[in-house]
Symmetry: C2
Subunit: 395 residues, 2 copies
């Protein structure tokens, strides 16, 4: 792809993704859904305006690293510590149930396979895709209802953040088993070694950055050093530990999340993300999806995938919340609040491509994201309205 | 270059360019000089940490488009109109004298050639490199002296901005004569046609953007639409009119420079620039320069190039200012104020590579930038100090 072609592709990607992103927002769907649809339109499925060459692929990779770095920066470690055990248990169940659900669903459709085979790995990936709740969409929904600082709101938020972390660990484990030729023991050892490194390196980097941040607050060097850490950890994770590069980026974000200027870093990253790299990443997912490949099986699978994806979270988290002592209505709210899916599901699916996951499954993921993020705010609103009417009747 | 290699390269580029950029600032040299030196160090000349592959080249191209778009946005059309004829004449002489000086210098060193030959084009490029004063470095110098809003300050600023525009026109003319197979008449026709298109399209885009800006001030869509315009005009300029893509980006910036939110767009662009694309661009210049290629001729040439570059501006602009009625001291200030060179010189040199300019000439350009931007503030300070001591003696 020559430079002129790159410039043309970027111009097309930017205008289409922004336009459809705005359209999506107008109908209360998440912007990313619009950006993916833009990719479908300009890709091989419809107009074929843009080919996905090496350059676009590289930009998309940077895009996903920036996204995961931002997600890490967004992690509020103190809030996690406070909400403690309850949210952690919720998150664990909220990861385990959909993971098993996704695994079983794929195996039911495409046959159960032996551990180690490609189908087995793909089934694990389908499970992985379902694990992470979309923090951003849930935050948005709770914000609009004005319920973000209630007990239920905090619990949902904390569990959503924790399940990102657990989801990433599960993903790391799944990838390591496949990508490495060594034994499972070796993989586990290297993964643990990586997290130990992150703890040590993280502590040192955090202290160093704290000193720099103290002396030069809100200067350009802060986000630039952050970006350097994100790229370095991504590289080290993948190259030396067989851990996904996005895990490295996420860890870099978590390391810096308690920094006084972490918001400042995140804002700068977000500008880079939404201007160029983000649109390129989400559009490139659409570019990879060829709608002509779709058949009845995948359509049927997609419908079941969405149902399983939603129910596993509602049932898993709802029952856990009830067992933890919440009343029925609150338990339902927690279950529904946890069912949104977003960027992380796409990122996991994208990663799966490397390990044999067919790009036709993007359709299922996109469908899940769109439906879950339209349904969640509506159902939450209804649940809160019902509660208030009950309160009024009693009064 | 695989994705992992890209991530590694970016990490190395970001940390080195930032570190050396800061070092440069500490010794009052421009940051870009530090970034280029970083490129020299990590490139083939010294450590060979990073290879300049297609991906880095593509990122660098986006970087230069963003830089030129920013430069266009920075153009204050109203200030240009006010300072009017005097500054325009200054700028014209300030472009013409160094252009001829550079052309003659190259021809003296490497032989005079017939129009149309490669050596002739290279000589024209060497002339082009010397035309544009660095607005940013001059602004910085005048700001530090607190003299930016004086009559002399405004004149220097305006002339520096105008000579960017004239410099771009000269560059466009030089490139068009070379890159097109058609007659010079056709080239001139297409170039004029391009600027007519820019006028019409520019007017329409500006009106449209004004409406959007009115309804949605300071929203993400404003800089994103700006970026789209920059990429589109770059592509159209190069593809359909044989005009340099950076000219298109510059025009896009000028079109939007009178927008109420132009500062807002510029800030967002700057963040994209300084975080990733800018460092990649300036570092990639260092990456392209192989110091092992240097010989005595080029060293001697570089020294003469710096002397010619500085003297042509001081003499050309100084004499013109004197003829326009400024006193001797003010004329000298104007001449010295105009002699800084910066990004645009590098961008022109970078462009020249495509047309046969050897990358060894980067050394000369880098030397000129470093020396001019160290000397200008020092001499200006001395001139202002001298004036004040004269005023005090008289009082």
């Amino acid at each position: 792809m020559d430079t002129l072609e790159i410039i043309r592709s970027l111009a097309v990607i930017i205008i289409f993704s922004k336009f459809f992103g705005l359209c999506a927002r107008k109908i209360k769907a998440p912007e990313v859904a619009g950006e993916i649809i833009a990719g479908l339109l300009i890709g091989p499925s419809v107009f074929n305006f843009v080919q996905k060459g090496d350059f676009i692929a590289g930009m998309a990779e940077i895009g996903v690293i920036l996204l995961m770095f931002s997600a890490g920066l967004d992690t509020n470690i103190n809030q996690l510590k406070k909400s403690g055990i309850k949210a952690t248990i919720l998150a664990c169940v909220g990861v385990a149930v959909p993971f098993i659900g996704g695994f079983l669903l794929y195996s039911y459709f495409y046959g159960f396979s032996k551990p180690g085979s490609e189908h087995f790995t793909i089934a694990l990936f389908i499970g992985c895709i379902l694990t992470a709740t979309s923090v951003s969409i849930t935050v948005q929904a709770l914000k609009e209802l004005g319920k973000i600082s209630t007990e239920v709101g905090t619990t949902i938020m904390s569990a959503a953040i924790i399940d990102d972390v657990i989801g990433i660990i599960v993903l790391t484990a799944v990838i390591s088993t496949k990508s490495s030729n060594t034994s499972i023991g070796m993989v586990a050892f290297k993964t643990i070694l990586f997290f130990v490194l992150v703890l040590i390196l993280g502590y040192l980097c955090f202290r160093l950055m704290e000193i720099i941040d103290e002396r030069y607050p809100k200067t350009r060097r802060i986000p630039i050093l952050g970006l350097f850490l994100a790229f370095s950890l991504s590289y080290i994770a993948d190259k030396y530990f067989g851990v996904a590069d996005i895990t490295g980026a996420f860890c870099a974000g978590v390391i810096l999340s308690s920094l006084r200027d972490s918001d400042y870093i995140e804002r700068k990253m977000d500008i880079n993300s939404y201007m160029i790299f983000g649109p390129v990443f989400f559009t490139s997912i659409g570019l990879q999806t060829d709608l002509k490949k779709l058949d009845m099986t995948i359509l049927l699978f997609s419908i079941c995938f969405v149902i399983v994806g939603l129910l596993c979270k509602v049932v898993g988290c709802g029952i856990t919340a009830k067992l933890e002592g919440y009343n029925l209505n609150d338990s339902l709210k927690i279950g529904v609040g946890m069912m949104t899916r977003g960027e992380v599901a796409l990122i996991v699916a994208q990663r799966g491509i490397k390990y044999g996951l067919d790009s036709k499954f993007f359709t299922s993921v996109i469908l899940l994201i769109v439906i879950s993020s339209i349904l969640t705010p509506i159902i939450l609103k209804a649940l809160y309205a019902k509660e208030e009417s009950v309160v009024e009747t009693n009064a």
